[in-house]
Amino acid sequence: MKILLPALSPTMETGNLVKWLVKEGDSVVSGDILAEIETDKATMELESPDDGKVEKILVKEGTENISVNTEIALLRVDGEEIEEISEKPIEKSPQVSSNGSEQPATELKISMNSLLNQTKENSDEKNWSEKEISMREALNKAIEEEMEYDKDVFLLGEEVAEYDGAYKVTQGLLDKFGSKRVLDTPISEHGFTGLAIGAAMAGLKPVCEFMTFNFSMQAIDQIVNSAAKSLYMSGGEINVPIVFRGPNGAAARVGAQHSQCFISWFSHIPGLIVIAPSNARDAKGLLKSSIRNPNPVVFLEHELLYKEKTNVPEENDFLIPIGKGNLIKEGKDVTIIGFSMSVQRILNALPSINKLGISPDIIDLRSIKPLDEELIYKSVKKTNRVVIVEDGFGNTSFGSHLSYLIQSNCFDFLDSEIIKVSGKDVPMPYAENLEKLALPNTDEIVSAVKKVSYIN
């Protein structure tokens, strides 16, 4: 019987074989632990599916980035013939694509990092000592550094401490800072969010994690009515220095109640700062700035980006100012605007856009509120064409507001209608093909670029 590397989380594509707990020739019964597998979220135990004898171990312990469904061992089960070992790892099950033009993730990763490396040269940033790390690690470093920097910073949320974080973002922080500053809460968003806001009113600087922003809806009153409005309605007396953070948007097939982008919701509220980074570098620099900011900050991450790596400065004084967008690719023909996951979608579409002979400006907003209007208008006045890509529902969306701002500030410069490629106005479906269809895809982005460029 072939033992395959199983998918142990909704977003797992590869895993690491941390340790074999059996050796060749060992007898095992169903349920015995064969190995420890590290997924994108945690280290899990792999159980034997049947009684038998470990015939052969095919993947050595310590091997990383093994694709899901790779054969990792052979088990001789009584009464079964020994199977042939495949020459190659079994291919991943074919990915359903709505348009067949999705780029593989590895290419994306490289292009994001190289784009960031290019844009950096144009900025006035100093020469940092950089290391390629994932967004997950970058967020972890940001929290760790800020907790070292300011003893008033503390972290609370569900499973942030002893479990090491539902998505491993807070891994190791309990060990480092102790249970006074890293607190597991009950499943009680309304209560612990209010508690965190109260602590902020009294001068502490909480980092309040939502396991996903879907659960922040339980606490939306506290975020809107207590955190966002207190400074104003107290005439400046009470400020609320807090960061609400966690994954936002659609991950991978987790259904309607766990797949929604709340950027439009939070950006509607005066008093809230809203941040949505697309890459590890920005995630670190912006989370650190958010923790130091005296206002309530809604920091929206994306689960599918947690594993994506870019070069990130290791210095603890690396901060990215809130309110600054990033022109990640400079072109001339059209301005394509995205934030968070939609930046990746734009990069997926970039080869097809380039093939059309179109060279776009690509703007990663990074900060939704305050918004870098200057950067946007400067680009639009150059390209005269705009496509906005957002994962959230299109109806009364942030993209709608953005197109209002652009037409209002750049009316005379526009050579075409503004096109918005948004998530479809349906609860997120579960089926793989429908989920892909519900989110902005390459075809839609390319079609929008063609349309604003009057290319048939």
Binding site: H190, G191, G194, L195, S226, L231, S234, G271
Partner: protein, 325 residues
């Protein structure tokens, strides 16, 4: 020493507490008048009838302790010592209001006086107050977070989440339920199932009691007991105050849900009058002395009124300030 005064307050101290209760009473009567005259807008929730609660609690309070409450907050901010002129000017929506005219009756705060509002969403102040208690503990401050809530909030979900967290994390919080029998127009009999309201906290391991909230001495005694318990055990405590509001829920309340007889009967145990009678009869404080206190307050309220009406409207540029720091 009188048996009603287990806390050994001096006559001077008692007179000060009476002065505060009388100030709140007269302030609120003036607010009602100004509301009727169209000088105060929006919502205006008066504290008349509940004065013994806030002043009884005040008698046990360390000046460093913090206080948070919901929207019936005039009495609470006055008890914390904020200048009544600034409070009334907030009600009239003027520049000199404690929130610069941007908060209104329900949203008043003073960090200097350790008063954290002034919150308009029923129940929301309870987790916030627990968070303030969390901050006290985090910083090893010997302070207690005093969290007021009404009987109406006692059926609001986040309040129970807050009880759980306060008890689980052993936070220095005193919960004070001001049970004035009506959540807006709905009597507690029509809104709360089960037994006493404070018992809903005891299931989380929070010790508590129910007290006659119309009597300053009873409130004070239980508040001191609570303070000692919290300081000794580093755990939260809850007191349910049996009290009553003589006025409507807000100024626009027609009061159809209760009879005049009921209100009049409750006025027989008016906390301000009872306190005065106790001072006269049991403490032998001269009527003249009390009259002097009262006339000073009445005079002060006139000044407060004048100030709050003469203070200019906020500058128009204030519209866009203090959205962000």
């Amino acid at each position: 020493m009188n048996k009603k005064n287990k806390n050994n307050f001096t006559n001077d101290q008692l007179l000060k507490f009476y002065e505060k209760m009388f100030l709140i009473r007269k302030f609120e009567e003036k607010a009602a008048q100004l509301y009727g005259a169209g000088k105060i807008g929006g919502f205006c929730h008066l504290y008349i009838g509940q004065e013994a609660v806030v002043i009884g609690i005040l008698s046990s309070i360390n000046s460093e302790d913090t206080v948070i409450t919901a929207y019936r907050d005039h009495g609470h901010i006055l008890a914390r010592g904020v200048d009544p002129k600034l409070v009334m000017s907030e009600l009239t929506g003027r520049k000199d209001g404690i929130s610069k005219g941007k908060g209104g009756s329900m949203h008043m705060f003073s960090k200097a006086n350790r008063f954290y509002g002034g919150h308009g969403i029923v129940g929301a102040q309870v987790p916030l107050g627990v968070g303030i208690g969390f901050a006290h503990k985090y910083r090893n401050e010997k302070k207690i977070s005093r969290v007021y809530l009404g009987d109406g909030a006692m059926s609001n979900g986040q309040v129970f989440e807050a009880f759980n967290l306060a008890s689980l994390w052993e936070l220095p919080v005193l919960f004070i339920i001001e049970n004035n029998k009506y959540g807006m127009g709905t009597s507690i009999g029509r809104s709360a199932a089960g037994g006493e309201l404070y018992e809903r906290a005891t299931v989380f391991g929070i010790k508590g009691e129910k007290v006659d909230g119309m009597n300053f001495f009873n409130v004070s005694e239980s508040a001191i007991r609570a303070r000692e318990y919290i300081e000794k055990n580093s755990k939260p405590y809850i007191i349910e105050m049996d009290t009553y509001r003589f006025r409507g829920h807000s100024m626009s309340d027609p009061g159809l849900y209760r009879t005049k007889d009921e209100v009049n009967k409750m006025k027989e145990i008016d906390p301000v009058l009872m306190m005065k009678e106790t001072l006269l009869n049991d403490y032998k404080i001269q009527e003249e002395t009390i009259k002097n206190v009262e006339s000073d307050i009445k005079k002060q309220i006139k000044d407060v009124e004048k100030f709050s009406l003469e203070s200019p409207l906020p500058d128009l540029k204030e519209l866009y300030t203090e959205v962000y720091l």
